[in-house]
């Protein structure tokens, strides 16, 4: 057990576990957003519950650690793998049969995800939980940090933000379509029979999660018109 994480498979296990954890978080986040479509009050109740209290703070720190580990090991693995390919690249290459573009571009897709994440953290975390942590009563937009619904509706009334978020979500979708079955393969829960099933499940779940985020986004934009 001691040196498991120095091996190539061990490092990949970290990607798999943190990835699975992030997917769980995304699922929870998606359900929470759904509340906003039905009732601003319900959404604000969740926002207040997840404000500057110890449970929410511990949750935030664990989540941040998950992202950091996933990101740091993504860099370590990608650099190491690039080196293992050697100094001279093929003059000619071909896309192999059955190989998906996303599987070879997980790092680039991850970068899209993290850039979107930074924008997202500024828009919402900084203007909500952080504002509460430092004890301010208004955020950078002059709103109360617990008026979650108002803030979200304000941000998504801007077409620029809506487009940026859609690009972000498309990147995430590609990352997830490969990531979901890949994390099962990494821990060894795959076989000839399950390969097709896992791939199918990955596409369905990725589309449900990303689709729901996108739908809510578009509903909010349309309601703002």
């Amino acid at each position: 057990m001691a040196n498991i994480f120095t091996s190539s498979i061990g490092k990949k296990l970290i990607m798999s576990i943190t990835g699975a954890f992030l997917i769980l978080f995304l699922t929870f986040h998606m359900i929470m957003n759904g509340a906003l479509v039905f009732s601003d009050e319900a959404y604000d109740a969740i926002v207040r519950f997840l404000g500057a209290n110890w449970y929410a703070l511990v949750g935030t720190v664990i989540l941040a650690a998950g992202v950091v580990f996933h990101f740091v090991y993504a860099i370590i693995l990608t650099l190491g793998n690039h080196k293992a390919r050697g100094n001279i690249r093929y003059a000619e290459t071909k896309r192999e049969r059955g190989v998906e573009w996303s599987s070879k571009n997980m790092f680039v897709l991850g970068l899209v995800v993290i850039l979107g994440l930074l924008l997202h953290l500024f828009n919402f975390w900084y203007n909500m939980q952080w504002t509460e942590i430092i004890g301010a009563h208004t955020n950078s937009l002059g709103m109360s940090p617990t008026d979650g619904a108002d803030l979200v509706r304000y941000v998504f009334s801007h077409p620029g933000y809506v487009i940026a978020y859609i690009i972000w979500l498309v990147g995430l979708w590609f990352h997830l379509t490969h990531g979901m079955w890949s994390m099962m393969q990494t821990v060894g829960w795959n076989s000839k029979v399950w390969m097709k099933r896992l791939k199918c499940i990955s596409y369905i779940l990725s589309t449900i999660i990303v689709g729901a985020f996108m739908l809510i986004l578009i509903i909010l934009y349309v309601q703002s018109l």
């Binding site: 498979i9 293992a84 192999e96 821990v187 060894g188």
Partner: protein, 247 residues
């Protein structure tokens, strides 16, 4: 048929390589790819030039010696064949064909199209064998083996150690090769006993020798001449992680 060949030439491991272009004429469509290279080399020798070095041995798809990255694919176009099983009928008259050596940090070029694949031998020496006492030769069928297990083992044992998986993988990973070796033994009664220690030893060697890690792109199984499936990699991951958690 006439072809233009763009071939990687490199005098030795240290030298800087470059592409040279050659022409071969009047090649019959039924010539094998390696025979076509033999014809080229024959011409080169007659012209007093250095022939192109390339690996080959059995020329019937069983030894794994022939290599070559042809027009961007390990073992060239066509699926589940080695380069020695490739024929010129797969190309068109007048085609330009690009021929490169395997490219991976763990397989350095020795000369022209020949790469050093000793790293595979070292991985095998680390654990690709059975060291438990299996006794004398038993009578046939004294130890029954379920058909599914035998099939699974044989599918993995089909690996000929050619290295196309490493050459194709964008990470230069040897996971399909190691998985094939571990999986073929893991499914048989004599091999099963040492599965966990074998998985650990072979992966440690693979990492040490500068092969990359698996990112599950599946490019290896698409180019493997023996159609070894990545489901064997799943088994290897399972066995390796079990072994590490038991430590």
């Amino acid at each position: 048929m006439n072809f233009k060949l763009k071939i990687w030439r490199q005098a030795n491991a240290k030298a800087q390589g470059r592409f040279e272009t050659y022409e071969v004429k009047d090649i019959s469509a039924d010539t094998s790819f390696l025979e076509m290279l033999d014809i080229l080399n024959n011409n080169l020798i007659h012209e007093g030039k250095e022939p192109v070095a390339f690996d080959h041995d059995c020329r019937e798809g069983i030894c794994g010696m022939c290599s070559l990255h042809i027009n961007g694919e390990a073992h060239g176009p066509d699926t589940e064949i080695t380069t020695c099983q490739l024929h010129m009928r797969k190309f068109h008259d007048g085609d330009t064909i690009t021929i490169e050596p395997w490219r991976s940090a763990a397989f350095p070029v020795i000369k022209d199209l020949v790469v050093d694949r000793h790293a595979f031998d070292k991985i095998m020496q680390a654990g690709g064998f059975i060291s438990v006492n299996t006794g004398g030769v038993p009578d046939a069928n004294t130890t029954p083996i379920p058909r599914a297990d035998a099939e699974e083992s044989m599918d993995a044992a089909a690996c000929i150690g050619c290295g196309a998986c490493v050459a194709t993988c964008k990470n230069g990973s040897a996971m399909l090769f190691v998985a094939a070796r571990v999986s073929s033994l893991a499914k048989l009664p004599q091999g099963k006993v040492e599965t966990l220690s074998r998985a650990k030893a072979m992966i440690a060697k693979m990492d040490e020798l500068g092969f990359g890690g698996c990112t599950n792109t599946r490019a290896c199984e698409a180019e493997c001449p023996k159609g070894v499936s990545i489901s064997h990699i799943a088994r290897l991951n399972r066995k390796f992680l079990t072994a590490k958690f038991k430590d």
